[in-house]
Symmetry: C2
Subunit: 213 residues, 2 copies
Amino acid sequence: MALADAAATASKIASPIWRSKLQASLVSNKNLVYSRYVQLATVKADGRPANRTVVFRGFLGDSDDALTFVTDSRSRKIQEVACNPAAEVAWYFPETREQYRIAGNLTIVDAAAGDSALQAARIRAWSALSDAGRQQFGWPQPGLPRAQQDPTAWSGAAPGPQDPPLDTFCLMVLRPEEVEQVLLLSNERYRYVRQELQESGSTVSWSEESINP
Amino acid sequence: MALADAAATASKIASPIWRSKLQASLVSNKNLVYSRYVQLATVKADGRPANRTVVFRGFLGDSDDALTFVTDSRSRKIQEVACNPAAEVAWYFPETREQYRIAGNLTIVDAAAGDSALQAARIRAWSALSDAGRQQFGWPQPGLPRAQQDPTAWSGAAPGPQDPPLDTFCLMVLRPEEVEQVLLLSNERYRYVRQELQESGSTVSWSEESINP
């Protein structure tokens, strides 16, 4: 099922419990700017894991539970996702002492992506970035050896929020399939698994199970 | 090379730069208890990534740069590591706005592990846990459906720090092979790669490279 179809399906159903919980956690932890920083694990072509901190940029839509992030088309994770789209986010909320683990598949929305809804989401994410955030997409290629003397490389003016996104700018969409929440304060743990009920018209539902912490 | 041999080799060399930096970061962020919480990525048997928050329990030794964590022998990561020992830690320090990525292989040190130095390290880690930390290793199997009514399962007395570790208690040792540090405040990024110089008697050294952020 294409991502746009999935979005249309998702719009028919109520918000899953894990999303309501996650939104409550974001509110409870909103005084810590880094409570929106999560760790995203993928698998490299050689079968070893990669893990890095990324900023949560919101859900794809009010009735679409995919999580969005942004990335540079020149970063290593683009190749990793092309080989293996599987990902798991680990998200720790310091204020409420909760952890969410969110597993699913990643879709990269680059400048050439044809899906108009996803391309529109990419442009919205670009406009919502800070000047410093937009500026980074004009920097030299991430991860390459740093040239000794090139101060101009890092100080170019940032494109404005209404300018078209630079070609290096990508939206990264994680469509959850399984979510686990651990509450350290109360020693509770819950597992949510996405289920498509084909017989009833591709309705999506989520199972909820209380499991041992 | 066995882990104990590696430890002996490591003792011959100076502390690598990344370790000195990491120790400075721990000091600068010590007011945030969760600055010792890191996200550990592994790969599951089906080739998908797993990612969870674990607590850094210190280096294996003053002159041994392996990172230690603890885990339960019944947790899913034990099977994952048995199939694929590769791991990457993502470690974000909120106060100094730095990220370390630490990639290497994991070794699980369980109750039956024969290496006496590692078994001693396991017992030290057990003794250093809080009562609440030790108590968890006597809880019902993590991840299984939670029984409706069994209050006694969670409230048993914790073994003391001088008691022998419960059989479920494992030390988890990550021996780094590549480390990256990103400094968000100064837009610097460094890569460190472990190198064994066989011709000079298995001396270990670390390369350092400044790379584009």
